[in-house]
């Protein structure tokens, strides 16, 4: 089983305690009413889907309950680092 380091619990915890939350650092529209269809499409559906380093959100659902961000390699499944929500992209 994969162990994921929770930046809040400051512990490596088993993967099944966590829930995946999609790509990280996607800003919500500040004024949604001004968005065109193309901008909505971009915001809702278009993701970077990289081969390699991927910034993603995880939630320690069966632990402290917190969302945080992680950098995971999509090829090797290795977690490079995890950091608290709100911190700058690593």
């Amino acid at each position: 089983m994969l162990l994921i380091h929770c930046p809040y619990c400051e512990e490596a915890r088993p993967e099944v305690e966590f829930a995946y939350g999609g790509e990280a650092h996607i800003a919500r529209p500040v004024d949604p009413s001004t968005y065109s269809d193309e901008q909505w499409e971009e915001f809702l559906y278009i993701r970077s889907n990289p081969r390699g380093r991927h910034h993603e959100r995880w939630r320690h659902a069966h632990g402290c309950g917190r969302f945080f961000n992680a950098v995971r390699d999509t090829v090797t499944d290795v977690f490079e680092t995890t950091y608290k929500a709100g911190e700058a992209r690593k």
Binding site: Y8, C9, V16, E17, H62, G63, C64, R66
Partner: protein, 175 residues
């Protein structure tokens, strides 16, 4: 004609046990009635002032029967009937959740093996006096290590019957 084997346990037999179960080096029992409070606040000091008790500062620590579950979340496990000030009007949340969960106690040298049969945490490394939310198979539980060989498990009521029988099954297989 195909002969269908009799099922081992009928649904009627799957009731939450009331009497302690003794296994090989491990005993399963109910923790008995408790008062449970879910405590939330961004400002730990404000919450501590409201309830008049000290709060553990680090996630996973316990202090005076209060466990720190998250950066802004604590859980109090107190003798039944204990009342707590609610802090109305303040930016804290003190909620009585006594009826939400049941406490099961696993005790004895085999308790660690029974708990580890379905819990993916490395519980052997968990210090005495630590507590955390985790899972047993797919059921969310809280594990409090109350002693070297004494574990208190909090589980939501609707999962308690299943967890009880899962523990009993593990006890039969546990060394």
């Amino acid at each position: 004609m195909v002969e269908i084997a009799e099922i081992a346990v009928s649904a009627a037999e799957l009731k939450l046990g009331t009497e302690p179960v003794q296994g090989d080096g491990v005993r399963l029992a109910h923790a008995g009635p408790k008062a449970r409070y879910s405590l939330r606040a961004r400002d730990a000091k404000a919450l501590a002032d409201v309830i008049g008790r000290a709060l553990p500062g680090k996630i996973g620590d316990t202090e005076g029967a209060i466990a720190c579950l998250g950066p802004d979340e604590w859980y109090a496990l107190l003798p039944a009937g204990t009342e707590m000030p609610r802090g109305e009007g303040l930016a804290v949340s003190v909620v009585d959740v006594s009826s939400r969960a049941l406490g099961l106690v696993l005790e004895g040298p085999g308790a660690l093996a029974v708990l580890s049969s379905g819990c993916p945490l490395d519980l052997a490394k968990m210090g005495v006096g630590r507590a955390t939310r985790t899972v047993f198979e797919t059921v969310e539980i809280q594990v409090w290590r109350e002693g070297e060989e004494r574990w208190h498990v909090e589980v939501w009521r609707s999962f308690a019957t299943w967890l009880w029988h899962a523990f009993v099954a593990a006890m039969h297989g546990a060394k």
